[in-house]
Symmetry: C2
Subunit: 244 residues, 2 copies
């Protein structure tokens, strides 16, 4: 694997490009045998840059907690992870990744009531201006933030959902208490974009990082829409799996 090129004068510093590539390689398992990253001098040769530039890249990865440099020995890999997140008719946050991590948790960041916009009314198949409950939530796996989501629910049926969610930390349980024994995923739209200000804060990312955006519509068993949500996932921590 000789001479991987990096692009200059593109507005993305070399150290950041290299940090992104090394992080990808770690997640891909390229250095699993040694359990550590190649020496700085080797990386400098490989990427065709100065050793100091490599050091900047590794310092950034150390800041993220991905590697740890030990003088005299080398740079050890501390953590590698990319959770597989299934998307199916029965998509649930905690269930889907439950067998991949020790602990999943969901935190309510904020909630409010607001009238349905044109777009939300179209998605939820209701009239514009219908009152909705909005929930801002943060999904965590083993105490590391994985996703942040904004969800809307018709207020007439689910006015109390925020309070129930706050105590149970589960949408599924909240639905059950409010007379929806089961629900299914109708459609999911997936895009990718750069992390915005909120992503950087909530998901603990660095600028230029990527988020996968999933816009989803859930309906009850009578096919009546019950939830529309926009979830943003740290792209280097998750992968979506669509089973057909």
């Amino acid at each position: 694997m000789a001479g991987q090129k990096v692009q200059r004068q593109t507005g993305v510093a070399l150290w950041r490009q290299i940090a992104d590539r090394i992080r990808t390689s770690i997640n891909h398992g390229d250095f699993d045998e040694a359990g550590m990253v190649p020496p700085e001098t080797a990386l400098a040769l490989q990427f065709g840059v100065n050793r100091h530039t490599i050091r900047s890249a590794l310092a950034a990865l150390a800041q993220e907690g991905i590697v740890r440099a030990v003088q005299g020995r080398g740079t050890l890999i501390e953590r590698k992870e990319r959770l597989s997140f299934p998307i199916s008719r029965r998509t649930r946050f905690s269930q889907g990744i439950g067998d991949q991590v020790r602990e999943t948790r969901s935190v309510l960041l904020a909630t409010s009531e607001e009238p349905a916009s044109t777009e939300l009314a179209r998605q939820l198949k209701i009239k514009i201006g219908t009152r909705l409950v909005r929930l801002e939530t943060l999904g965590q796996a083993d105490h590391r933030p994985v996703s942040r989501a904004t969800s809307w629910f018709p207020a007439d049926r689910f006015g109390a959902i925020a309070e129930i969610y706050r105590t149970t930390g589960s949408i599924t349980k909240a639905f059950r208490e409010l007379g929806v024994p089961d629900y299914v995923r109708v459609v999911t739209e997936i895009t990718a974009t750069h992390a915005d200000e909120g992503d950087l804060a909530d998901l603990q990312l660095s600028p230029g990082a990527i988020v996968l955006v999933a816009q989803a519509l859930n309906a009850d068993l009578d096919n009546i829409p019950v939830q529309y949500s926009i979830s943003r996932f740290a792209a280097d921590r998750v992968r979506f799996t669509v089973e057909n």
Copy 2:
């Protein structure tokens, strides 16, 4: 929309962060009424940076062909597009986006024959070392590159697929000629990452750009795997839609 913050000293130049945000806004339709981007002075105020920094961002977008500055008038939006790409049991490249653009085309970049790696053997449910045909293809919509894909097919059944694909430009037709009247998508894995060197060239992207990566397995009607592919899409040009 006042005072959107940009992050400093993160290895991503301010002009690039701002270019990415403006591109996203354009694709989101934020400036559709005017058909043009706000004045440079207004953007400078909004992002809290110098006007020259805004000009660098707009120059980058002009280079991509997304906007065009006209002295005395303003900066016009030239192009906005994000194709919707359905993922379902019957996912096909050209069919899926056929009604959204005037012309879709698929080009064969390269082909070769190679033995199955451990990973490919696992996916295609064959023995390691089984001979495979590898196809490198480029998908275009209205003469703009949208995706690049690497596909593998068992060589015993599909040894001639490269030649047929080269003339027809269609996997579906090639399958049909080789005795596979129909096929279905078994599973799709979706991730997002930064564009690599090949993406930049083939998809005409700039560094720091995002690609959506879809790893897919297709099987014939007897549920025997016929194709494993890794497709890379320019994230700002497509969106995946999962119908459940």
